[in-house]
Amino acid sequence: MERLRRTILYIPGNNPAMINNGGIFGADVICFDLEDSVAVREKAAARCLVAAALRRRELVNPMQREIMVRINGFDTPFATADLEAIVRVRPDSIRVPKVEDPATVLNTAKLLDELEKKEGLDYRIEISPILETVLGVSRAVEIARCHERVTALSFGAEDFTRDLGTSRTKDGFELVHARGLLVMAAKAAGIQAIDTVFPDVGDYGGLESETSKVRQLGFDGKSVINPRQIEIVHRIFRPSDEEIRQALSIEKALEDAERKGLGVASLNGKMVDTPVAKKAGRVLALARRLGLVEGGGEQHVA
């Protein structure tokens, strides 16, 4: 089953107080950060701290959410040491920053193959490349499709807007093209699309507005940097009662058609075509996982 990734909460990897508490706020994913929130002279210390924390995951992840680690980029001297330390403590996924080339993902995958074998892992760690440059976003489709470990594409707007030579605005007009490209690439590859952080943590209205827009664009979730952002993002990504009602009607129409041996289902005189059926399926899958509709497999507190 596809992972629920409505919120990915960044936890600065050199901050014990935040690491202690990061797992209690209900984010779908806890992302321990070794990159931008850690000063260069503290990279080794943060690596030790995150690795030690993950050896005690009953403390730092009591709700048993997905554990992700953002390593340093392969344009730095830290990436390989990060992977060696982190694979040992068995995260679910890693985020690789500033990916511009499928080769970076393929090299990462190869390193993971070797390290997982060495450490005796019985599963494969997933990769979420962050596209945060013009070149990265331009190559989104290739990057999304290059390896089966890639299960989500993430967008990083801060570096991207600098690369564009512009700056972020509240309405995000400068990002709409990049967001569209990223979502399309992710969906073409059958993987998730995760939007960038909203840095103004005090502006709840702005967060709500941006999250609504990116949900409408097709994103599956959003990175967050403050626990107070989680509830708002979860609310926006929750299927509405009307969406659920419609999806249930479509599901029933499909079941009726199958029972009658009909090749095509119809609802209210209109044919239910494949995209409509697929969308209804996705809405109901999410609704069931959130306990909004009966019949869910995995229950997940919203």
Binding site: A17, A44, A45, C48, A52, A53, R55, R56
Partner: protein, 91 residues
């Protein structure tokens, strides 16, 4: 014989953290001094955690000063490890 003196420090005085200063010595023996507001209650446990970490790292001789600000055991262990890495010049 001259002993080598290599020093490393890691951690901060922020809440939930510990600042660990380690001096690696050639002479065997580990000497640990714990400071902090809860030293009477947790001092022994903190020192034990630091000692175990040093043993796992293969450190036989060291002088350790540890200022504890309510760090959990995994934090103590991580800060000791980072201080040793710095003392060994490996970071």
């Amino acid at each position: 014989m001259t002993s080598e003196r290599k020093t490393g420090q890691a951690g901060t005085l922020e809440s939930c953290d510990a600042r660990v200063t380690i001096e690696l010595t050639d002479e065997p023996g580990i000497d640990i001094e714990v400071e902090g507001p809860m030293k009477d209650v947790f001092g022994d446990a903190v020192a034990r955690c630091a000692r175990e970490t040093l043993e796992n790292l293969g450190v036989n001789g060291a002088r350790v000063k540890l200022v504890d600000r309510g760090a959990l055991d995994y934090v103590i262990s991580a800060r000791v490890e980072a201080a040793v890495i710095r003392a060994r010049g490996e970071d």
